[in-house]
């Protein structure tokens, strides 16, 4: 520590930064660029003046399909929508008490949640820069509330770290930052990086490490009260004669590293994961319901598409009513098809080989979400956790706490699993009851005294077993994008595809909407040119 070299005062540092100059201009330039890059959405499409009598058949009443129906109707088209399920929304979906969930083998789950409780098995959080979705939420009157993405007081758990005991994110994140800063300080002061840095930058970096890492005057991460002001106290600050706080003891570097906490710290830096995030009040399907309010009279539910044909005159789609067995053919001038590739690649569709090849080159990801209704909000009452996620390396990957009705008495639904990859397959392969049991076993690690005791009922949604999609989201690779993406998006005769699979925002509602707007804009141009 004898070799510690630091600018002595904040003023010295500021003066050093000032000498660099040009900062304001640079900042303004960056802000302008950042704003321009935020979204490709430039407002709803100004489609108008459809030819008299022109018609469009939309397949699928998910967000892409209903947005297409909404905007094309406004543009003057006669629109009809066919939907396989008995509800609109597609993956924009919430499961509530009284709902039935049917799987590909016919297994049925009855959801027994109390009124007001729900699980969002699909999309559940909306980034603040998903402007298209936010635009339509506002336009259609969907009330949004904050989605608590980052909660410092939630837990991080790894089976082989800290003897399997969950750690508060705040503590391990502060420790990680502190130890890394201390090491960086040592390397700087030992001159190890002198050939990489100017003297000025080295001095700034030392200040940064000391302040960012909560290091002491000797550039050590010690667990003093300064550290406690970030990672918390053994005895919290109080009032009066016994008010003095006691700092908490820091974890050593090795234990801190074993937590892998950098994966969460890095996760929260992802563009689509940054605060502020939102969710609709009352369930994600409020968005689908709001679109349905606009276009519901155009939608035929319970309608399975069996063949899609086209010729010079128009498009004809054969369908079958899943309840009555009635068969029919719907005809229109054009078709916007939002059926997921997993289904569409098995339907007789009259499109060229390039689009067919694209549809067959799109594997879908898997995902399992499990909603656990608990009799009381023990995470709030006993742990001071209000929203956010506790992470684990078990199959469930996380549990996530509800973002609504804070401090209320009565039951609430925890997200008991958000599993993908091998863990997702493992859970999906179980019966619904086995999945819920696994979620209780694994989630108990965070709240051992309460988890089973307060459990009331659960619902476990496995995307790979949802008959209407048989997967979660389209999975592109660089190679498949290069080979097939343009062919998937291109208008094929009178048919255009839309949905998250036809976007670079795969798996997000924003992608479905942007894809839909692009598809109908091109379709409209084609129709006007005909």
């Amino acid at each position: 520590m004898d070799h510690t070299i630091l600018p002595q005062t904040r003023r010295e540092l500021l003066s050093m930064i000032g000498k660099a100059g040009g900062g304001v201009a640079m900042y303004q330039a960056m802000t302008a660029l950042g704003h321009a890059a935020e979204t490709q959405f430039s407002g709803p499409p100004a489609l108008a003046g459809a030819r008299k009598g022109a018609s469009v058949l939309v397949l699928g009443a998910g967000l892409a399909g209903m947005l297409a129906a909404h905007e094309l109707t406004k543009a003057g088209y006669k629109v009809q929508v066919l939907e396989f399920q008995d509800r609109p929304g597609g993956r924009n979906y919430s499961i509530r008490g009284g709902d039935k969930v049917v799987e590909t083998d016919g297994t049925v789950q009855d959801c027994n949640f109390a009124p007001g409780n729900y699980l969002n098995p699909g999309p559940w959080r909306i980034p603040h820069h998903h402007r298209t979705l936010l635009h339509y939420c506002k336009a259609l009157g969907v009330e949004l509330e904050p989605f608590i993405q980052l909660n410092h007081n939630a837990f991080v758990h790894r089976t082989k770290a800290f003897g399997g005991k969950p750690q508060r994110y705040r503590e391990v994140a502060t420790d990680f930052k502190g130890h890394v800063s201390e090491l960086m300080g040592k390397a700087l002061n030992a001159g190890s990086l002198d050939d990489k840095l100017t003297k000025e930058d080295k001095d700034k970096l030392l200040v940064a490490m000391r302040e960012w890492g909560a290091l002491d005057k000797n550039m050590a991460y010690t667990g003093d009260l300064k550290v406690a002001s970030q990672r918390g106290y053994d005895r919290a600050p109080g009032g009066g004669v016994g008010g003095a706080p006691t700092p908490s003891a820091v974890n050593n570097l090795s234990d801190t590293l074993s937590s892998n906490v950098w994966t969460q710290m890095g996760f929260f830096f992802n563009y689509v994961m940054q605060t502020t995030m939102f969710q609709p009040k009352g369930g994600m399907d409020m968005i689908g319901k709001a679109f349905f309010k606009q276009v519901g009279k155009l939608v035929r539910l319970n309608t399975r598409v069996t063949a899609i044909a086209q010729n010079d005159q128009g498009v004809s789609v054969s369908w079958e009513d899943t309840k009555t067995g009635q068969k029919g053919v719907a005809a229109a001038d054009y078709c916007v098809c939002t059926i997921p590739a997993t289904i569409l690649n098995q339907i007789d569709i009259q499109v060229g080989p390039a689009m067919k090849a694209a549809l067959k080159a799109l594997p879908y990801s898997n995902s399992v979400k499990i909603g656990l209704e608990m009799k009381r909000r023990f995470w709030e009452e006993d742990y001071s956790i209000y929203g956010g996620h506790s992470f684990t390396d078990q199959a469930i990957s996380l549990i996530s706490y509800p973002n609504n009705n804070f401090f209320k008495d009565g039951s609430a639904v925890l997200l008991g699993a958000f599993a993908g990859g091998a863990g997702g397959y493992q859970l999906a392969g179980m019966t619904p009851a086995q999945r819920i049991e696994a979620a209780l076993v694994q989630g108990s690690v965070f709240h051992p005294a309460e988890y089973r005791k307060e459990f009331a009922s659960g619902v476990a949604f496995a995307w790979s077993r949802a008959p209407w999609i048989m997967g979660c989201c389209a999975t592109w690779t660089e190679e498949s994008r290069a080979a097939h993406y343009q062919n998937l998006c291109a208008l094929d005769g009178r048919i255009v595809l839309a949905g998250e699979h036809a976007s670079y925002y795969g798996c997000w509602m924003e992608g479905a909407l942007l894809s839909s707007l692009d598809a109908i804009t091109r379709l409209h141009q084609r129709a006007q040119a005909a």
């Binding site: 799987e103 590909t104 082989k160 590739a341 997702g424 493992q426 392969g429 077993r465 048989m470």
Partner: protein, 148 residues
């Protein structure tokens, strides 16, 4: 011994990197905890139960409903040619992803042997050499309407 340990460590490190890439590629809205510690068994029956039956079902009869199905593996005559399921496992087909980033060649050989022998009556095993041979030959994914 030393060399062995290094090799094992090397392959472990590679495995973690591959898994991380899988998570990133396969789900844009990810849980955020990084790769899980979930380990897939080396035994064919267990690989089937832990991975395959998520879609193909415990009885390997598949399922569906929306005018499309996840094909049955039980009693499937196309599995007579062991290269047929092998190339699909390596490359995916239709809505099914490739599993070369979740399963090792040993696990793929074991589960293919199990599926062909248990749910069908093709008793000749699929070996790691078979997996490597098909990987190297890299035949195109069999075309289909993906129902079988």
């Amino acid at each position: 011994m030393m060399m062995n340990q290094m090799l094992r460590y090397g392959s472990l490190a590679f495995g973690v990197a591959a898994l991380a890439a899988t998570v990133a590629l396969r789900a844009q809205d990810a849980p955020g905890g990084g790769p899980t510690a979930v380990e897939v068994s080396g035994e064919g029956k267990e690989v089937y139960e832990q991975i395959c039956q998520a879609c193909h079902m415990a009885d390997a009869k598949g399922g569906g409903g929306a005018g499309a199905v996840i094909p049955a593996l039980a009693g499937n005559p196309r599995l007579a040619d062991k290269d047929y399921p092998t190339v699909i496992l390596l490359k995916g087909r239709g809505g099914m992803p490739w599993f070369s980033d979740i399963l090792t060649p040993e696990q793929m050989a074991a589960v293919l042997t199990y599926v062909r022998g248990h749910f069908n009556d093709y008793q000749d095993p699929v070996t790691v050499a078979d997996i490597e041979r098909v990987t190297t030959a890299s035949p195109p994914v069999p075309d289909c309407n993906c129902t079988q």
